[in-house]
C-alpha cells in the first residue's frame, strides 16, 4: 500500500482531525488490551509459557533451513503441492497460475496478512479474477475499498453507522440500520451464498509443523473452514517463518495466541489441515519476500518470531491514537514498524519514529520480541543510511552545535528566553510543532545555571 508522499505523522494528523473518534478508537483498543491482561493473569505459568514460546521460535530461526526441508517433505507425503516464492510477485504469479489451471475466475479468501503484504487482491483483480474476503472485518474494508487497519480486527477504525451505510449500498440492507447483530446476519447470508458458489479458497497459515507437514489456521468465524472444505482447490499462503518444529509445540502457541490477541482462551476454530480431502487439491505457497534478509540482520531477525496476535498494537499509545492506516503498511503498529523497514527502508523510514519507546509492546509480546529496542535500533540504521527526515536531521545538527559548546548553550538559552518574552509570535506559531497542541510555558527569569550560581554564593 502506498500512501503517496505522506508519512506517519502526516497521516496521523488526518486521523486526529476527529478528536471524538480518536478517543473512541483509543478506548476500544485499550478494552481489548484489558481483556488480554485478564486472560493472561488467569494463567499462573504465563511468563514460563512466553519464555518457552520465545525459545521455540529461537530454535526455529536457527534451524529454519532443515525445518523447511522437513516440512516440505512431510507435506508432499500428505499429498499437498508445495510452492516456493522468493518475493511477492512470484507468490502472486503462483496463485494466479493455479487458478488459471482450474479455470477459476472467482474465489474466496480468509484472512491472510501475507496476501495483504503481497497485494494479491489487486494483482488478481488486474487479471480479471474476483476475490471475496470472507472474514467479516475484511469484507467490510473490502467493500469500503480500504486496506485493513489492524491485523486481527481489520475494521476497528469503522463505526457501526458507517458499516450500516456500506451494507445498505452493497448488500441492500435497510437504510440507517446499524445494529451489529443485524449487520452480521446480513453478511452471513451474503457470504453463505458466496461460499457455496466458489470453487477455490485461499487461506493464511498460523503455524506449519515441520514434523508432520500439517498447517494450522485459527479463526473465530469459521470462514477459513467454510471456504476450504467446500472448495475443490485450497491454496494456503505462508511466510517461511511460520514453521514450528513439533506438533506438541502447538500446545504452547495455541495457549498464548488468542489470549494475547483478544483475551479469549482459544479461537473458536483451530483447524489442522494435513491432507487434501478426496478429490480436492491442496496447495501451499512458502514465501520469502525479504524474510531471509531480515534473518541476516542480528539486531532485527527476531522480529520473525511474531505470531501476529496484535497485542503490541492494542497496547501502543501511538497506534491507539493514530490508527492503523497511518502506518501505510500491511502490518501496522509496533511490530509492523520493525518489519516494514526491512522491506523498504526509504518508504518506511518514518515508522520506527512512530513510537514513544515506552516498551509496552515488548512487555505484552507472547514470544518476547524486544520490539521497542528494535525500534530504537532501526532509528540509528535509518539515520546512518541517510533516510531520516531532513527536518529531523537539521534539528539534530542544531542540537549538536548547541550542546557541544558551553558558550553557545548558555547564550542560546538567553536568546530563547528573550524571544519568548518580547516576541512570542516567533514561538507561538504553526511552524512550531510543540505549540500545536499546547501553550508554551511561562518564561523563567533565569536559567538553572544562573540560579545555581546565585544560590551557591548565598551559602
Amino acid at each position: 500500500m502506498s500512501s503517496g508522499t505522506k508519512d506517519h505523522a502526516a497521516l496521523s494528523d488526518i486521523f486526529n482531525k476527529d478528536e471524538e473518534r480518536v478517543d473512541w478508537h483509543d478506548e476500544t483498543l485499550w478494552f481489548v488490551r484489558a481483556k488480554r491482561d485478564k486472560a493472561a493473569h488467569n494463567i499462573p505459568e504465563w511468563e514460563a509459557l512466553r519464555e518457552s514460546a520465545s525459545l521455540i521460535k529461537n530454535n526455529v530461526l536457527s534451524n529454519l533451513h532443515n525445518y523447511l526441508i522437513e516440512f516440505e517433505e512431510q507435506a508432499q507425503k500428505n499429498g499437498v503441492t508445495v510452492h516456493w516464492a522468493v518475493d511477492a510477485a512470484e507468490h502472486n504469479q503462483i496463485v494466479h497460475a493455479i487458478l488459471k489451471e482450474h479455470g477459476v475466475n472467482r474465489l474466496i479468501k480468509s484472512k491472510s496478512m501475507l496476501t495483504e503484504e503481497c497485494h494479491l487482491n489487486e494483482y488478481l483483480k488486474q487479471n480479471d479474477i474476483e476475490v471475496v474476503d470472507t472474514d467479516l472485518g475484511e469484507r467490510i474494508v473490502q467493500l469500503a475499498q480500504e486496506p485493513p487497519s489492524h491485523i486481527v480486527l481489520p475494521c476497528i477504525h469503522k463505526k457501526k453507522e458507517e458499516i450500516g451505510e456500506l451494507f445498505h449500498e452493497h448488500l441492500g440492507t435497510p437504510e440507517g440500520m446499524s445494529d451489529p447483530v443485524f449487520l452480521t446476519a446480513a453478511a452471513r447470508e451474503h457470504l453463505r451464498e458466496t461460499f457455496l458458489t466458489r470453487k477455490a479458497a485461499i487461506t493464511g497459515v498460523n503455524f506449519a509443523v515441520a514434523e508432520t507437514g500439517e498447517f494450522v489456521v485459527c479463526t473465530n468465524e469459521g470462514n477459513a473452514d467454510m471456504g476450504a472444505h467446500l472448495a475443490d482447490v485450497h491454496i494456503a499462503c505462508m511466510g517461511i517463518e511460520k514453521i514450528i518444529p513439533k506438533r506438541k509445540n502447538l500446545g504452547v502457541f495455541l495457549r498464548l495466541l488468542t489470549r494475547s490477541a483478544t483475551g479469549q482462551p482459544i479461537t473458536t476454530y483451530s483447524s489442522h489441515f494435513k491432507k487434501p480431502r478426496p478429490g480436492q487439491q491442496m496447495h501451499l505457497v512458502l514465501v520469502d519476500n525479504g524474510r531471509t534478509t531480515q534473518l541476516s540482520r542480528p539486531d532485527f531477525r527476531n522480529s520473525l518470531k511474531c505470531i501476529r496476535c496484535a497485542a503490541c498494537m492494542n497496547t501502543c499509545p501511538v497506534y491507539r491514537r493514530s490508527g492503523g492506516h497511518s502506518y501505510h503498511t500491511a502490518v501496522a503498529g509496533p511490530i509492523g514498524s520493525i518489519l516494514a523497514p526491512n522491506l523498504d527502508m526509504k518508504e518506511y523510514s518514518d515508522l520506527p519514529f512512530a513510537s514513544t519507546l515506552c516498551g509496552s509492546c515488548s512487555n505484552v509480546c507472547p514470544v518476547k520480541i524486544n520490539i521497542h529496542e528494535q525500534l530504537y535500533k532501526w532509528r540509528q540504521v535509518i539515520v546512518k543510511e541517510g533516510y531520516a527526515d531532513p527536518t529531523k536531521k537539521l534539528a539534530m545538527k542544531a542540537m549538536e552545535f548547541t550542546l557541544s559548546s558551553p558558550f553557545v548553550y548558555k547564550n542560546a538559552g538567553k536568546v530563547g528566553r528573550w524571544f519568548m518574552k518580547h516576541a512570542p509570535f516567533t514561538v507561538n506559531n504553526k511552524l512550531n510543532l510543540w505549540y500545536q497542541h499546547r501553550e508554551m510555558p511561562a518564561v523563567p527569569k533565569e536559567s538553572f545555571g544562573e540560579w545555581y550560581k546565585k544560590n551557591k554564593k548565598n551559602d
Binding site: 476500544t28 536457527s62 526441508i69 451489529p180 473452514d225 500446545g251 482462551p265 541476516s296
Partner: protein
C-alpha cells in the same frame, strides 16, 4: 537456480547459530474439577453444557429442542432422530442442515475446546456449515490444558482435525460480540457420564 534453492541457500547462510529447543511444557496448575472448569468456560464462550448419562437423554434433548428440523449425525445411537444416508453427498448439500450431532475425542478444560478429527465428522464441512452443532464427549475425556491435549493426540495420523470451542463468532463490528458469523450459531456439548 530455482526459487526453492535460492530461498534455502539464503536461509542457510543467514540463520543464526544453533539454539536448542526448550524442555517440553506440561500442565503446572491443574483445575481441581476439570469438568466443572470446562462447563464454566463453555458457557462463557456462548456454548451450552448438558450433562447426560446415556444416549436416551441425548435423543430426548434433541427432540425437545430440534424436532422437525434437518438433523444429521455420525452417531449410530442417534439413528432414530437423525436423517439416514446423508454421509456421501456433495458437501454443499449440507447448507440447510439445522443440527449436526457428532462426537469428539476429548475436551480441554482450560478453553472448552473439543478435538474432532475427520473420521468423526464424516464430511469436513459438517461442523462448520450446520446452523447448530452438538458434540458428545465422554466425561472421562476432559483433559486439563492444551499440553495434555497434544500428549493425547501424540503422533496420530489424520487428514484434518480441529479444536472447536463454542459457536462461530465475530466482534468485528465495534467489538460487539455476535454469535453465528459463518458457522453454527449455537453449540451444545453433551458430556456423558
Amino acid at each position: 537456480m530455482t526459487s526453492r534453492a535460492k530461498i534455502l541457500e539464503k536461509v542457510l547462510s543467514n540463520q543464526p547459530e544453533a539454539q536448542p529447543l526448550p524442555a517440553d511444557s506440561f500442565t503446572t496448575f491443574p483445575a481441581a474439577d476439570p469438568v466443572q472448569a470446562f462447563a464454566t468456560v463453555l458457557t462463557t464462550i456462548g456454548g451450552t453444557f448438558i450433562p447426560v448419562s446415556d444416549y436416551q437423554s441425548v435423543q430426548k434433548y434433541i427432540l425437545e429442542h430440534f424436532a422437525g428440523q434437518r438433523i444429521v449425525s455420525t452417531l449410530p445411537e442417534l439413528a432414530e432422530v437423525s436423517e439416514q444416508g446423508w454421509e456421501n453427498q456433495d458437501p454443499h448439500s449440507y447448507a440447510n442442515v439445522d443440527l449436526a450431532v457428532i462426537s469428539a475425542h476429548f475436551g480441554v478444560a482450560e478453553n472448552a475446546a473439543l478435538w474432532i478429527t475427520e473420521d468423526l465428522m464424516h464430511q469436513r464441512a459438517i461442523p462448520f456449515i450446520c446452523q447448530q452443532l452438538a458434540v458428545v464427549v465422554n466425561k472421562k475425556e476432559i483433559v486439563q490444558t492444551m499440553h495434555d491435549a497434544y500428549l493425547k493426540i501424540g503422533i496420530a495420523d489424520y487428514g484434518f482435525g480441529s479444536f472447536i470451542a463454542g459457536p462461530s463468532k465475530t466482534a468485528d463490528i465495534e467489538q460487539s460480540l455476535v454469535l453465528g458469523a459463518h458457522g453454527p450459531k449455537g453449540m451444545t456439548v453433551f458430556v456423558m457420564d
